[in-house]
Symmetry: C2
DNA sequence: AAGCAGTTTGAACATATGTGCAAGGAGTCA
DNA sequence: TGACTCCTTGCACATATGTTCAAACTGCTT
């Protein structure tokens, strides 16, 4: 396998940089750039495309503050949360919705995460979608930490969750702290014991010092239940127990009711997600939500004050405001 | 005349915003966007183009620090100045060079100027070129101040200089403080007297508090002399005097020698540009240079420590480093 | 209501950009 | 060296985007 990281990549990158300059700063046509770079137009097209996906070119959209959408204002008023409403047509499918919101988040995430920061990330279909599109950004001494375990009765879950976290870690060049435990322990005391292990202490401490948390909300009892609820993590008895406790959703497999309360939900004693108080101590808490089936769960998360920045598709946002 | 600033513009702007989202964040095709916005593809093309030129969409290029060009490093070492080398092919004409450097500067200027700042701006062909392309950016309580008078023996010069400054002022929504005096007084004592006027004091004070200064360098005795030297601002005797004093150039019509010294240059006593010490007190001093004919003048400006950030075309940069 | 000046619009055309593919190149291994 | 694999390149084609122009529209004025 060819692995010319040392020079050839630099060479290519610097060409990409020049091309980007000429294209985005000087408005040259690709054909003109090709001439200056002594290559073909197609190659320039490819260079530019690399420049974009590798985060060399950074495209931002800066809303004049007076133009924040009506819904965004409404959400700010009602929930004290900065909303980023992603425009998606009403007739779009849930898959479309998810994909488009995820893409938007992926593109803007670099705005929130920088060198020397710690970001906690959950896992699930939404995070998976986001992870596939993150625009890379070079950071130093940055750290990503997994928010909750991902093993279940059938597998260690390492593959799925890890693949997701790995993508973020690569995109930012950040160290990755995995969390190789089941999503739920069978016995609460096992968790208590395990939490005292030194390796775990380090991880928990990181979680306690997060600068950013990135997660979605799970919705158990909707027509489109989330990954955790159908992936073999919970058995029927457990689901019934959640239902009985009037649980409306979860963040990183920590469950809550619609009013944001968590007391007396037994599963939380066995789960591996971060205490909500830990989450609430995190300065920036980014929640990504798409699809109306998540509205109830979202209400709970808002009531529990888990969110500072909300990315949400347009019609779900409207639904949220009734 | 139709002047639908109040609502229609908002309406259009918000459409442009949505379109920009869909295009740049979600990678939809213009055709798809047209469908979502219930309009034609052409209109979307126009919306996007508006979004770009109005600064709604902000495209930046972020060089990985380890990829700053060799010349930029060299300039930093030799002159302690941050260079931004603009790629321009060697065979490009001087007009091309100027245009391309100007365009690059125009696009990135917003990075340097923000709310509550004061920016001093000179005038001349380079500033003219830059002014034509500045990407707008909304700021509050920002102030632009003209660095030197623009009147000459033939006209008040208000038109030319003012047009330039006006463009910057519009682009940033900044207040504009003009400087309605000749470029050079005939008699130094007139200047001294005038400088005591209250209106002038205010302007000079602003200059003293600038956060950013934006200027080029003039080059009198090259094959491509700058605006000041051919526009009727100076008569033959004066040019001879400059030549005798070994002047290599000027910044905002303040003249200096190649070693950066200014003592004993009589014209400086009658000119209206800012004292170089005032300039040197300005935290950010952006100089835009294109074309080899300006190299000597640039050397003088560097020797005088007038520059903190230098925008320069590639071959001139190489020439500078010999 | 009709006329007017200045905009905005979409269809049609003109360009510019993206991509599949076959050919060539560069590294690796036997 | 030659066979092999994996990348990169430029051509040709397929799409996507930009721009011109005539028609429709808008807000005013007569």
């Amino acid at each position: 396998m060819t692995h010319p990281d040392d020079l050839s990549l630099s060479e290519r990158t610097s060409d990409a940089l020049t091309a980007a300059h000429l294209y985005y700063m000087q408005d040259l046509t690709m054909e003109a750039i090709a001439r200056e770079l002594h290559t073909s137009r197609s190659s320039v097209s490819r260079l530019l495309s690399q420049a974009r996906t590798s985060g060399l070119v950074d495209i931002q959209i800066r809303s004049p503050l007076d133009a924040t959408s009506r819904v965004e204002k409404l959400i700010l008023d009602r929930f004290k949360v900065t909303a980023h409403v992603v425009p998606v047509p009403d007739h779009a499918s849930d898959v479309d919705r998810l994909e488009r919101v995820a893409l938007s988040v992926a593109r803007i995430l670099g705005e929130f995460f920088d060198s020397n920061m710690i970001m906690g990330i959950a896992w699930g279909s939404t995070m998976n979608a986001v992870s596939r599109h993150v625009t890379p950004k070079r950071t130093h001494n940055a750290q990503i930490v997994q928010l909750n375990g991902a093993g279940n009765t059938r597998s260690t879950g390492l593959d799925y969750a890890n693949e997701i976290l790995q993508r973020f870690s690569n995109a930012f060049g950040a160290r990755l702290e995995q969390f190789p435990v089941p999503t739920f322990f069978d016995d609460p005391s096992t968790r208590t014991a395990y939490w005292r292990e030194r390796g775990l202490r380090r991880l928990l401490e990181m979680q306690g010092n997060m600068d950013v948390a990135l997660f979605s909300v799970g919705s158990p009892f909707s027509n489109v239940p989330s990954h955790v609820y159908v992936g073999g993590y919970l058995d029927d008895d457990e689901l019934t127990a959640l239902s009985d406790a009037e649980v409306v959703g979860d963040v990183a497999t920590v469950f809550y009711r619609v009013d944001g309360s968590t007391d007396g939900i037994p599963l939380n004693d066995r789960g591996t997600g971060p205490e909500l108080s830990v989450l609430r101590r995190t300065p920036r808490r980014i929640c990504v939500v798409s699809g109306k089936s998540k509205v109830d769960s979202l209400r709970g998360a808002l009531a529990a004050n888990l969110i500072t920045d909300l990315f949400i598709d347009e019609s779900t946002a409207r639904e949220l405001c009734e």
